[in-house]
Amino acid sequence: MSAETTSTPIATVRAPGLLRRHWPWLAAIAIALLLPWLFFDWTKGRHSGFVLTMLSEIGLMSVFALSFNMLMGQTGLLSFGHAILFGLGGYCTAHALNAVKAGTLWLPVELVPLVGGLGGLVFGAAFGYVVTKQRATAFAMITMGLGELVAACALMFMGFFGGEGGIPTDRMVGTSLVGVDYSSSWQVYCLIVAWVAIATVLMRLQTQTPLGRMANAQRDNFERTQFVGYDPRMIRFYQFTLSGFFAGIGGALYVLVYEIVTFDTVAAAKSATALLATYIGGAGSFLGPFLGTVVVVLLQSGVSLISNAWLLYVGGLFIVMVMFAPGGIMGIVARHEPIARIGRLGELVVPYARILPPGLLSVLGFVTLVELAQLTTIGAAQNKSLAIGGQAIDPHSALPWATGAVMLIGGGLWLRREARVFRVRWDALIEEAKARGLPV
């Protein structure tokens, strides 16, 4: 049997093996390319601009969040100013595109994200030299200071940053390797998908390099890393610089999509978005930030259409995650693994079904209260009104408020009772898995 396998030519074995091992990646790319066609407007013969922009935003923000997780998840460095590398990469790209347009530089549009990456790399090395002297809380503070510094500079120096107006640019410079002029957002979207795939694969491979492994070691026990003979500071420095490269690519993709780069790409809110996405998705796993970005951008694009409160919902989700599920969505999924391995996952269906209604009820109550509150102030200023089933709801009367409060508090109490039942079932199953010698 073994003789037979070894005699098979390696190439024929390896090719299907690669396909079998890496099919999720190919499937993800296929889904990314097929998804816009679901929203294709066949009567007008064009893609939905909203969907394409949203998907592009998911793509570029997930590159940014993954590069953020190179620091947070892998190296244990919490950065509050990561957007400066994203934004500076974007500014470099915008200037490069304008130079291509003016004819002073020749560069195919397909390779323009590399400029952003190199910009991020150079700035990452320069800032990294300073910030990686520290770790833990001091690192968080120093990156915050640096972030504020760069954001203030972006408004001060007109030459490079263009002040509040930003640097407008034009992606249709006519230097394409494949003969596409990038006039439609579908063409740009294909380019974005390609670069997101390249950057994601590179970052994935980076986690398996010795540097990636030492970054994990540095995160878990930096004294022992020193003892083994590595310099934790140099590990942090290389990791920071590389993460700058990928953040810069994200910034470059931003420029290609929006054709402008303004100072809010370097501002603290951008860094916060990456942090929220990474934590909600799960910093502990490679794909967590990607998942988190999908959630955050969907909330951002979807909810912001109908409500002003999307950041409050994202913030609320974030707090819930920090308090109850520090591993994020991926962490929750991973905790089911031992139960799935003993084949008892089916027994959780009923407990889950039982906590779903009270959970939904309290979320609904929370949303009702938030929307009522914002209707009285921001919504009133925007002349918005709330109507359910054609029935207009007056935010100044007591009934809607009481309904919301009852739903929130009642749902919360009910949820607490059901959660206790769930907990008992869960603990029993985990004990069962432990008894079978599975790591929990």
């Binding site: 833990a136 001091a138 510094l149 409050l312």
Partner: protein, 315 residues
């Protein structure tokens, strides 16, 4: 000279306001290791509470009630939020307060609107106290100075003369030993967190009408307070005091001194024109760099002296 005196007074007022915020934050950070991002949010809430309360019951009751409300909120956050997150480590605690700051900002926007609210100086204090070289010094600023000095005295006496103050001081440096001696360290934490939040609220009450009461005030004040805490050094109230005054003076003087690096170079016979490399950097006037200086100082001090001015241990 008159510019110097007036700026000195204004710088002192601003510095003492910073100290009110920073003293609570430095106690929380040194004792609990929690970098409290929501601290400046308490400052904002103090201002907004005082605005609403002063519309109904006047400024003076609000001066007492608003900080108490902030303190209660702080105690609740510590007991029901931070303690639960504590077992996941310091980074989780930091992230928790960060999320809290985001939410508080949004809630404030939803309750009081996006625009600044008309929170004004009480009529009884709205007169010029004295004039220096023709510039009026408002009585309200003197009142702010008075309040912050009283508070400074109260903190100092409380920490050095009372039993709980001594326990807090001990817990600053040796929390485990204090716990081993039978003191309820978690309760001490709650008290410090609540007191720090109340102080931030008080700073908001008297600072909200001195500056502008708007939803962005927490995110503009927060980073500066961090700078003060890091600059002063962990575990040192004296360092925090010096750093607050320094930062207040630096920011006030940067606004009034209208010079740029180009003017300095001119003293050495170098004239900066638009052809000089980096001319944009060289011709930036000092008032515009003013907002930037605290962060420059933060980066520099963390790089060269991570312990801050008078800190006893690394950040």
């Amino acid at each position: 000279m008159e510019v110097f005196l007036v700026s000195l007074l204004n710088g002192l007022v601003y510095g003492m306001l910073l100290f009110m915020l920073a003293s609570g934050l430095t106690l929380i950070l040194s004792m609990m290791g929690v970098l409290n991002f929501a601290h400046a949010s308490a400052y904002m809430l103090g201002a907004y509470f005082a605005f609403t309360l002063s519309q109904h019951i006047g400024f003076w009751p609000a001066l007492v009630i608003a900080p108490l409300l902030c303190g209660l909120l702080g105690a609740a956050i510590e007991m029901y939020g931070l303690r639960r997150v504590h077992r996941n480590g310091h980074i989780a605690e930091l992230l928790f307060t960060f999320g809290l700051a985001l939410i508080i900002e949004k809630v404030v926007q939803m309750t009081w609107g996006l625009l600044p609210v008309p929170y004004r100086v009480p009529a009884g204090l709205d007169f010029p106290l004295f004039s220096i070289y023709g510039t009026h010094f408002p009585a309200y600023r003197a009142f702010m100075l008075l309040i912050s000095l009283l508070m400074f005295g109260a903190i100092w006496l409380g920490l050095t003369r009372t039993r709980i103050g001594l326990v807090i001081q001990a817990a600053l440096t040796h929390p485990d030993m204090v716990g081993a001696l039978g003191h309820n360290v978690p309760r001490v934490f709650t008290i410090v967190f609540a007191a720090g939040t109340a102080l931030a609220g008080l700073a908001g009450v008297i600072g909200g009408n001195y500056q502008v009461t708007e939803p962005a005030m927490a995110f503009t004040m927060g980073p500066i307070v961090f700078v003060v805490v890091v600059f002063g050094g962990l575990g040192s109230l004296t360092g925090c005091f010096i750093a607050s005054l320094l930062m207040g003076l630096i920011q006030t003087f940067a606004v009034v001194l209208d010079y740029s690096p180009a003017d300095l170079l001119k003293q050495f016979g170098v004239t900066v024109t638009s052809a000089t490399p980096f001319h944009e950097v060289l011709t930036v006037p000092l008032p515009r760099i003013g907002a930037l200086l605290p962060f420059l100082l933060l980066v520099l001090i963390l790089v060269f002296k991570p312990r801050g001015l008078m800190g006893t241990r690394d950040t």
